[in-house]
Amino acid sequence: MSIFVDENTKVLYQGLTGSQGRYYGLLNREYGTQVVAGTNPKKAGENVDGIPIFASVADAVAETGATASCIFIPAAGVRAAIMEAAEGGIEFIVCITEGVPAQDEAWFFNKIKRDFPGVQLLGPNCPGIISPGKCNIGITAGHIAKNPEPGAKNVGIVSRSGTLTYQALYELQSQNIGVTTCVGIGGDPVPGTSFIDCLERFQADDETTAVMMIGEIGGSAEEEAAEFISSNMTKPVVGYIAGQTAPPGKKMGHAGAIVSGGKGTAAAKMDAMKAAGVSVGANPTEAGLLMVDVVKGL
């Protein structure tokens, strides 16, 4: 099994007619994702390489039965796009766009939680999600992910960083370890999907035998995840935290990657994870090797 998305997930793209949306939407389709629609109020009735464009998410859902949406809309339009998806009947919203104001994120996170409790938002500012061999939504290069094999020791991945996610996929592939689902939760201060949302599902997923968790400085999501792992998880978790040597008070590329007032340091996160029984690597390579050991020992 996979988590959140699989071969039956029908995906529409908000922003499919833009250059980024078109590029990644078509790549996702080529991978095997069921890309069923795009939306653009000005281009309803047209198509992008055969994919029909609808005026609204609601129209697209009614016509195609899409349950997931992938957003490639500029930051200024993200709040409206996310609400349109939730109101239009989408259950799983993936927002790739970076640079969304934190005030907007805090608002739509709470709005969705209150008014659309069945909707799961992933991102913003994330690479997306891939269930290898089944469905790829977003900007992950599909070919660096090894498909899970029945009965094999397959692994789930959850990460705050895009490139480190690819690195993890790649290292597992080179070690011949399959991946059930790889979720990039993104580097913003208010991510729609948390580590815990993913850990909980990986724990419940029969096919996933272990989890790779990649965090970074800033906030306390890793500490909260560690608490969850220690009280709720029986599957082994291997972790890595980026930014062990980042200076305090500076945003390291991601809006959420900042050590402020002595809080959110890599050291504190690594300690919390170790205390929860997580095998923590000093760098991505070491984390990959730790995962190989863990998988061999299962």
Partner: protein, 381 residues
């Protein structure tokens, strides 16, 4: 983006939060003239630096006459406070203070709600209050969808045990401060101290504001942007649109992706070296971006070796390699470069780089080996 106090006060004033009448000036003559325009003494002269402890460093003075304004302004302008040079002073009419409070709004990332903090113990570092007397801080968590209403603000003020004389004024300011924080797209909006005057008015005596860079597109922040404190390297990188943070080591870093760039700093440290910078060139790695990144790093005299760490995802190894070669053709680089290229079509990319390799341009198969090599080269120069 952190604002200077005078900018924070302008920001507050645009949301009708009462602040003292004053002016920001850069010369002694302007300081004297500004004091004259303010028209009443004493005035306070405050150094504008983005670092705490200005008062202790002699950066805040009370002047009773034009002569004192001249004397203090000339002392403070140009002063060094913890490595920050004072280029601007803020001059404002001095306030009579009956009591000092603390008020702020920020995002609680864990609760995913806005956090308001209010304390009757203001004028000191809130971290110290939190440590020594946490009960003195009244906290409320605000759902962004609901916002902050008047009854909630009033109950909050009562819970913080402010002087009843300050209640109405504090409620009014807190509602305005919340608006400034949310509609103004601030990450932090803090008043410390928030003062009660003997006359019963409540007033923001200081302003600490951090604005959300991601919201720049919907505000007129050019003036704030223009005065950001950046070192020359950070300024150059900023102009090229690069995600750069200056550090104090000797290994220049270029990586694609914020996580990988942070990770690259980590492995350079683990290899015994010190990174000169954080630099994320984003998902692609085209020649323009690479050339810009190399220029910024090449202009940093502290850099003794450069480590380019690229992991190809959608961007293929060949594209990355061609981008690097093209960039190197445009910029003359003094320090030796170590490249680690992995991911999609890494083999093809490495084959493109192979004929160009020399002592000045080396390649290593893994991130750890590349880090060690870069550290070794930096140490040997």
């Amino acid at each position: 983006m952190d604002l200077f106090e005078y900018q924070g006060k302008q920001f507050f004033a645009s949301f009708d939060i009462p602040v003292s009448k004053g002016e920001a000036v850069t010369t002694v003559e302007d300081a004297v003239a500004a004091a004259g325009r303010i028209g009443e003494y004493p005035v306070v002269i405050k150094a504008q630096v983005q670092v705490g402890g200005r008062g202790k460093a002699g950066g805040i003075k009370l002047a009773n006459t034009a002569e004192e304004v001249r004397e203090y302004a000339s002392n403070i302008l140009g002063m060094d406070i913890k490595g920050h040079t004072v280029n601007v002073v803020w001059i404002e009419v001095a306030s009579d203070i009956a009591e000092e409070y603390y008020a702020s709004f920020t995002l609680d990332r864990s609760a995913k709600k806005h956090l308001g903090m209010l304390s009757a113990e203001g004028g000191v570092e809130i971290e110290a209050v939190a440590e020594e007397n946490p009960d003195a801080i009244a906290k409320i968590w605000i759902d962004p969808v609901d916002g902050l209403d008047e009854p909630t603000a009033r109950a909050w003020v009562k819970a913080a045990n402010l002087n009843p004389a300050a209640e109405d004024g504090a409620v009014d300011i807190l509602l305005k401060l919340y608006r400034a924080y949310t509609e103004g797209d601030a990450d932090l909006a803090e008043i410390n101290p928030l003062i009660l005057k003997p006359t019963g008015e409540v007033h923001a005596l200081d302003a600490k504001v951090t604005l959300d860079d991601n919201a720049m597109y919907r505000h007129e922040w050019a003036e704030y942007e223009a005065t950001q404190e950046r070192d020359s390297r950070e300024q150059a990188a900023h102009e090229k649109g690069l995600q750069y943070v200056g550090l104090d080591g000797s290994v220049g870093i270029i990586a694609n992706g914020a996580g990988l760039a942070m990770s690259t700093l980590d492995v350079v440290n683990q290899a015994g070296g010190k990174p000169a910078n954080f630099l994320d060139i984003g998902g692609g790695a085209n020649a323009d971006v690479m050339a810009g990144a190399l220029e910024v790093i090449n202009n940093d005299p502290a850099v003794k070796a450069i480590f380019i760490n690229i992991f190809g995802g959608i961007t293929r190894g060949e594209e990355v390699a061609n981008g690097i070669i093209e960039a190197l053709g445009r910029v003359t680089i003094e320090s030796p470069i170590v490249i680690r290229l992995d991911g999609t079509n890494a083999e093809e990319g490495r084959a493109i780089l192979a004929p160009h390799l020399s002592d000045q341009l080396q390649m290593q198969p893994t991130m750890l080996e590349a880090a060690s090599k870069a550290v070794e080269l930096a140490a040997s120069r």
